[in-house]
């Protein structure tokens, strides 16, 4: 949701470790990142503060588990986006979130999934409202390297008109 970019980002976790020199701080154990309606849960988050005070967060999940996120979307009273992946990166400045390896994103209208994407690399640029999907977590598409699957549900009568 556009309004989230004006909100301030908070991160909670069981432990917190800050390395003054490199201004890198690491959160671990039930990490929850909140920014307006965006809410991300993960096992570990490594936050690096850039010179212009913007934070770059890299989140990872417990082995075998997944990071999960949920955010409200513009354009409707009850539109949401949610998803999981094994690893994620979020850049406060570019407002660019990347979900890597076995990522899945679902767009919901209320509780009904209208569209869904699964793949190795799914990213969302909320400032320009653009999402990208690539078949390898490097971010560059590898020909023959597997494919991203998108499922679009048929539009119900309500949506159609």
């Amino acid at each position: 949701e556009k309004a989230d970019s004006l909100k301030e980002m908070t991160i909670e976790a069981d432990q917190f470790l800050n390395n003054g020199k490199t201004n890198v701080s690491t959160f671990s154990g039930d990490v929850v990142v909140v920014r307006g309606t965006l809410k991300v849960k993960a096992e570990k988050a490594v936050v690096t503060k850039s010179a212009d005070e913007f934070q770059h967060v890299v989140l990872t999940a417990k082995p075998g588990a997944k990071i999960s996120f949920r955010q409200k979307r513009d354009g409707g009273p009850d539109l949401w986006v949610e998803g999981e992946s094994e690893k994620a990166e979020y850049d406060e400045k570019t407002e660019f979130v990347k979900f890597l390896s076995k990522a899945q994103i679902r767009y919901l209208d209320g509780s009904k999934v209208t569209q869904q994407q699964e793949g190795e690399f799914l990213s969302y640029d909320s400032k320009n409202d653009v999402f990208v999907g690539v078949n390898s977590s490097s971010g560059q598409s590898v020909s023959g390297g597997g494919r991203i699957k998108t499922t679009i549900q048929p539009r119900t009568e309500k949506q159609a008109n």
Partner: protein
């Protein structure tokens, strides 16, 4: 005659339509899944997919290099080596668009192949209207494989409707081996043989009587159970003939009526027309109406206007209307019937009696305290322009006491045949009234023996069925009785066990005779009768005094032999011989052999003899003579007249997706000359049959028993 690709009966067509409706998968609310190596887009607006994109929705699958999905229009556009699969049909083109919810859309520069009748072709564009209908623009259509098919139809637009099973080509040109052979404003053809309104392929023809002919039939598929075929035909020497044939099938009725008319025939400057109409209807559950009406405007109509043998050789056209009321164990039939005689003055035919009307009553009951009884009554008014006329009443009660067991049967029967005549239009002095009462006593008895044995290595049950049939009918003077409907019956195994050697009711033959017969059948394990041998002879204890038109009374006894069945898996034979004991001459004989090693490879040979009337040798066959070439032929040679009475020779060429038939036919029309016809037929599988002359397949099926068109699997 209109040539439809496969003139199906209504029933087959209805079943086909119902089947096609069930298989339509309901794709409307199936999800769409898209796979690609890369994608990007804006939520709720569009998604671009790239690299190895595959879109699947219900029965439709699309592969392409790139595709874009637009949410608002709910459409997917694809470019780059697009291949689209839809209900089994596949299309390959440069780009394509699919509307997801209505599954309409189009493909640009497609090459397509339809699953249904593996037709294929290319086009500038194909529009999908909905799940079943598509329109091919500036495209070609052919059922031949490969890039340059032997034949193809190029059309401006080609509407294919797999739901209604029909294709309509507008402004189409048909190319065969590269040369255009037919251009039509609109041509309808069935995608799988069902029937639809539209022009049928034109029919060219030529006959010695009418000169060149051209007909362009149009077919109205009015309703699933009603259709009408119109065939205007230009006959060069005679003029324009209009023909119409209507068929209808209802819950309680069915029928077919065809009418042909040519006013002011330039050869005879008279009006020439013909009608045939057949109708059956169940007016009430017990009351049925049937009519069978045939009429021709003049004697030479059949030989002038049709080159099909069945019509030409019929000189007697039946006109019959009857009502039948069916009770629980009886029925009552009221009919009016007479024949139109198409006279041939070279060998004149005498006019049969009219029956205007005839009332028939029949009742029978079985196992009434062990007895079977039946009663027949018939009141008929016979009319004839010149000969004696009369009303005739016949009463014929019968009672029998059948003792039937699986191994034997004995059936004594007593019957009475009472007849009274009231004649008119008689020669002065001739008695107008006649009566006759004739009792008949008969005993039919037989045994059935069985044993297991083997025939050609196969285990069979062989039966041995001796049978004795004694008939005693006293003599009644009948020589001056009128003869309206009696004749001497053929002497065969059906007649040998009936009491009266004459058919009809006007002559009751005196009889003191015993018929002995021995039948042996070889029955396979599945109950099929593989081979049947039969031997029968009748012994007359006194000479028969009732004769008909003073045919010399049959000799002391005749021998009857018959054998029919499969001698080997590919060879079947049947033979029947009637041997006159006193003259030791065969009265009637027919021997036939059929050798059919495989389908479309058959030879028939038969010899038929009817003492003093017919002696014919009949050879017919269908045989592959070279790669893809088949020869078909028949020669029915009359040994008495030293002349081929009914001959036919033809060739068939079978390519993968079309077949060509040449046929020359010659049959006797009357005592002096023959009618010869020539026809060529090009059958384009899945499109139509184009022909010159009469449909050869009908003539081949009639002339060569066991013939199968090479285009059929």
């Amino acid at each position: 005659q209109a040539q439809t690709t496969a003139s199906r009966t209504f029933e087959e067509d209805l079943v086909l339509r119902q089947k096609s409706n069930q298989t339509k998968a309901d794709d409307k609310n199936a999800p769409t899944t898209v796979q690609s190596e890369r994608l990007w887009g804006r939520p709720e607006r569009f998604i671009h997919f790239e690299n190895d994109v595959e879109v699947v929705k219900g029965a439709t699958t699309m592969n392409a290099d790139k595709a874009t999905y637009r949410f608002l229009e709910d459409e997917v556009d694809a470019e780059g080596k697009v291949s689209l699969q839809r209900n089994g049909d596949c299309y390959k083109g440069d780009s394509a668009r699919i509307q997801l919810d209505s599954s309409s859309g189009n493909v640009i520069n497609p090459v397509y192949k339809l699953l249904r009748n593996n037709a294929q072709g290319k086009a500038e564009k194909i529009d999908f209207i909905d799940e079943e209908r598509s329109v091919i623009h500036q495209g070609t259509y052919s059922s031949c494989d490969g890039l340059d098919p032997d034949w193809y139809l190029r059309a401006e637009t080609l509407d294919l409707d797999t739901g209604l099973d029909k294709g309509i080509a507008s402004k189409s040109v048909l190319y065969f081996l590269g040369t255009p052979i037919l251009a039509t404003p609109s041509l309808t053809f069935p995608l799988s043989g069902a029937r639809h309104s539209g022009f049928l392929p034109p029919v060219f023809g030529a006959s010695s009587k009418g000169g060149a002919e051209f007909a362009l039939p149009y077919y109205f598929n009015i309703a699933p159970n009603r259709d009408l075929t119109l065939y205007p035909k230009v006959i060069s020497r005679r003029g324009l003939q209009l023909g119409a044939e209507g068929r209808y099938l209802g819950e309680t009725y069915r029928g077919e009526t065809s009418l042909e008319g040519l006013n002011n025939d330039r050869v005879t400057n008279t009006n020439r027309y013909a009608l045939t109409s057949v109708h059956q209807q169940q007016l009430l559950p017990e009351l049925a109406l049937n009519w069978n009406l045939n009429y021709a405007s003049d004697d030479n109509y059949p030989s002038d206007f049709s080159n099909s043998i069945t019509k030409t050789s019929q000189r007697l056209l039946l006109r019959d209307i009857n009502f039948t009321y069916t009770g629980s164990f009886w029925n009552l039939n009221l009919r009016a019937s007479n024949y139109q005689v198409l006279q041939d003055y070279a060998a004149p035919i005498d006019r049969p009696y009219d029956r205007l009307p005839q009332l028939q009553f029949h009742a029978e009951q079985h196992d009434v305290k062990g007895f079977d009884w039946s009663a027949d009554a018939m009141l008929t008014r016979f009319w004839h322009p010149t000969q004696v006329r009369g009303d005739r009443l016949v009463l014929n009660p019968q009672v029998s006491f059948p003792m039937v067991e699986p191994g034997y049967f004995v059936v004594p029967k007593v019957s009475l045949h009472a007849t009274t005549y009231q004649l008119s239009n008689i020669v002065p002095g001739q008695d107008p009234n006649f009566h006759r009462v004739v009792p008949t006593f008969s005993v039919d008895s037989g045994l059935v023996f069985e044993r297991q044995s083997s025939l050609l290595g196969k285990e069979v049950t062989q039966t041995l069925e001796p049978r004795l049939f004694y008939v005693r009918t006293p003599y009644r003077e009948q020589s001056n009785f009128p003869n309206f409907d009696s004749g001497v019956a053929d002497f065969n195994f059906a007649q040998i066990f009936s009491e009266n050697r004459f058919t009809g009711q006007d002559r009751i033959g005196d009889a003191n005779q015993i018929t002995a017969a021995l039948v042996s059948r070889y029955i396979e394990m599945d109950g099929e009768e593989r081979l049947k041998l039969a031997l029968g002879q009748r012994f007359y204890f006194n000479t028969q005094r009732v004769t008909l038109d003073n045919v010399n009374s049959p000799s002391r006894s005749d021998l009857l032999l018959a054998a029919s069945g499969k001698v080997s898996p590919t060879l079947s034979a049947d033979a029947a011989l009637q041997l006159n004991q006193s003259t030791h001459q065969s009265v009637q004989a027919s021997y036939g052999i059929r050798w059919q090693p495989e389908v479309k490879k058959i030879l028939n040979l038969s010899y038929r003899l009817q003492r003093d009337t017919l002696k014919q040798l009949d050879i017919s066959g269908q045989w592959p003579i070279a790669n893809r070439w088949y020869a078909v032929g028949r020669s029915n040679y009359s040994l008495m007249d030293k002349r081929v009475v009914d001959g036919l020779v033809g060739f068939e060429y079978k390519a993968d997706c079309w077949s060509l038939r040449f046929l020359a036919q010659r049959f006797a029309v009357n005592s002096t000359n023959n009618n010869s016809g020539f026809s060529i037929q090009l059958e384009l599988n899945g499109l139509a049959r184009l022909g010159i002359g009469n449909n050869p397949i009908e003539a081949l099926k009639r002339n060569i028993s066991g013939y199968q068109p090479i285009s059929e699997r």
